[in-house]
């Protein structure tokens, strides 16, 4: 899956879990933490994305990225590897 497609999936998962963020223009340098997304909401978003991408990786493997861009890169790489 192309990186932009992964990003679209991530953005729509964020909007699903946090409807108050749906009209924010989210950039690669934004971080979920800085957006006020708490740990449970983050887990919901990531599992939503993994489901959409049909990717089976442990949640803990997604803890490294510091912002949305890095998260998209990681997920895209895992999709490619799968």
């Amino acid at each position: 899956m192309h990186r932009n497609d992964v990003k679209d999936v991530l953005i729509s998962a964020i909007a699903e879990v946090r409807p108050d963020l749906q009209f924010c223009k989210l950039e690669d340098h934004d971080s979920l933490l800085a957006l006020g997304v708490n740990s449970m909401e983050r887990a919901e978003i990531i599992i939503d994305v993994l489901r959409e991408l049909k990717l089976k990786i442990p949640l803990i493997d997604t803890y490294g990225p510091k912002n949305l861009g890095e998260l998209v890169d990681l997920l895209a790489a895992r999709c490619y590897a799968a």
Binding site: P19, D20, M40, E41, E44, I47, L50, R51, L59
Partner: protein
């Protein structure tokens, strides 16, 4: 030292009406709404009848949903917010308020929907399921949203949960453990699984072939067929009378209470246990049976339970008091019913009006002072609220006008 306990705020979310005045109006006009239930997860090759909240009316002012907020959580926060507003409490007051939630397994329907959604691939089950299956989830959601910080207790006592939570909170205040407690009778959001099992055990009413849904719910009537489910949630703010020095009018006083377990796993009610819990509550309140003007019974419409309850009331000497059935209008709100019906009791006491008992066309017994199919005007000084739950749980609460 036993502190006096008063009610300083009430809140209610029900198909009959949301907010105290709307709910009272609904009770006095018997605004019932029983139909084959349509909420997702309530039916599976079935046609279970119940009363459902209109979400667009009940939660019109609620903030946008975050993290898949459940029906039980939304109802609890909405009812509690009404009680807090009436009690005129600010953030620092709430920081010193304990939260008592009556009820467990409040989110069964939501869990069933998640099972269905994720059955093909459980790997991707929603992480929030890990919160939703815990009985603490609704209470924690409320504590976070409302700012109560003095303590959080979750008490599950089946259909007596709401009243047991009120009794435990009142006891804690009376003993000086807390100055103020927010008590919530939690909405038990059942799925078709719970509905079917409760029907199969003979507790929940099933429609007869030629019966209208509105005719199914008839507590204490000879033609009752079991209880009919109703969504609902209520909240009451309890306070120590001597420390409630804000400009707030007390709504009622909690005069005495009792809880008794008769050690039975079966859903069957016990006359001896019901008489005993009533007598204990009256003794704590320092009242004689003849001084009780109004009884708000458990009266679920159960075939055995309604008979037992009338027998217990008769033995306790309460057949002279007014008697009606709030469940005939609200349906059986299960874990919430003790709180929902205490709110109904308090509102009727303050209005000096008692609501009708829907569908009570042929009462099981004629030696009671029934409020039949029309409301009556009556001054109520002392009232008694009763709740009974599976597991041999019996609870009684005496309320007095202030």
């Amino acid at each position: 030292m036993r502190h006096e306990v008063i009610v300083s705020g009430i809140g209610i979310v029900s198909p009959v009406g949301c907010g105290a005045s709307n709910f009272l109006d609904g009770l006095l006009t018997s605004r019932a709404n029983f139909a084959v239930m349509s909420r997702p997860g309530r039916q599976c090759e079935s046609s279970f009848v119940g009363a459902q909240i209109d979400d667009s009316l009940a939660f019109a002012d609620a903030p946008s949903e975050r993290l898949r907020q459940t029906l039980a959580a939304r109802a609890a926060v909405t009812a509690a917010s009404q009680a807090i507003a009436q009690a005129c409490l600010d953030e620092s007051d709430l920081a010193h308020t304990a939260l008592y939630l009556g009820g467990g397994n409040l989110q069964q329907r939501e869990l069933v929907l998640m099972h269905e959604k994720h059955r093909a691939s459980p790997t991707y089950v929603s992480p929030v399921y890990g919160l939703n299956f815990q009985d603490t989830d609704v209470a924690a959601y409320c504590a976070q949203a409302l700012g109560t910080r003095a303590g959080m207790m979750v008490l599950h006592a089946a259909s007596a949960s709401g009243l047991v939570a009120l009794v435990e909170a009142a006891q804690a205040i009376a003993e000086g453990r807390f100055q103020r407690c927010l008590v919530i009778g939690g909405l038990q959001d059942i799925s078709h699984w719970e509905a079917q099992a409760l029907t199969n055990m003979g507790a929940m009413a099933a429609l007869a072939a030629d019966q209208e849904p509105m005719a199914l719910n008839r507590p204490f009537d000879r033609n009752r067929r079991g209880f009919v489910y109703g969504e609902g949630c209520a909240a009451l703010m309890l306070e120590r009378a001597d420390s409630c020095n804000r400009d707030v009018e007390p709504i009622a006083r909690l005069a005495g209470w009792a809880i008794l377990n008769d050690g039975s796993r079966s859903p069957a009610a016990s006359t001896a246990a019901e008489v005993a819990v009533i007598e204990r509550a009256l003794a704590v309140a320092g009242l004689q049976a003849a001084q009780i003007d109004y009884v708000n019974p458990h009266g679920s419409g159960s075939l055995q339970g309604d008979e037992v309850e009338l027998s217990a009331l008769r033995k306790a000497g309460l057949n002279g008091a007014y008697l009606n059935s709030t469940k005939s209008i609200t349906g059986h709100t299960l874990t919430a019913c003790g709180a929902v019906e205490t709110v109904a009791t308090v509102l009727q006491m303050r209005a000096s009006r008692l609501h009708a008992s829907r569908n009570l066309s042929t009462p099981l017994a004629t030696d009671f002072n029934w409020v039949g199919q029309q409301p009556v005007q009556a001054r109520i000084q002392n009232a008694l609220k009763l709740s009974y739950g599976f597991g041999g749980i019996n609870a009684a609460l005496c309320l007095t006008s202030v």
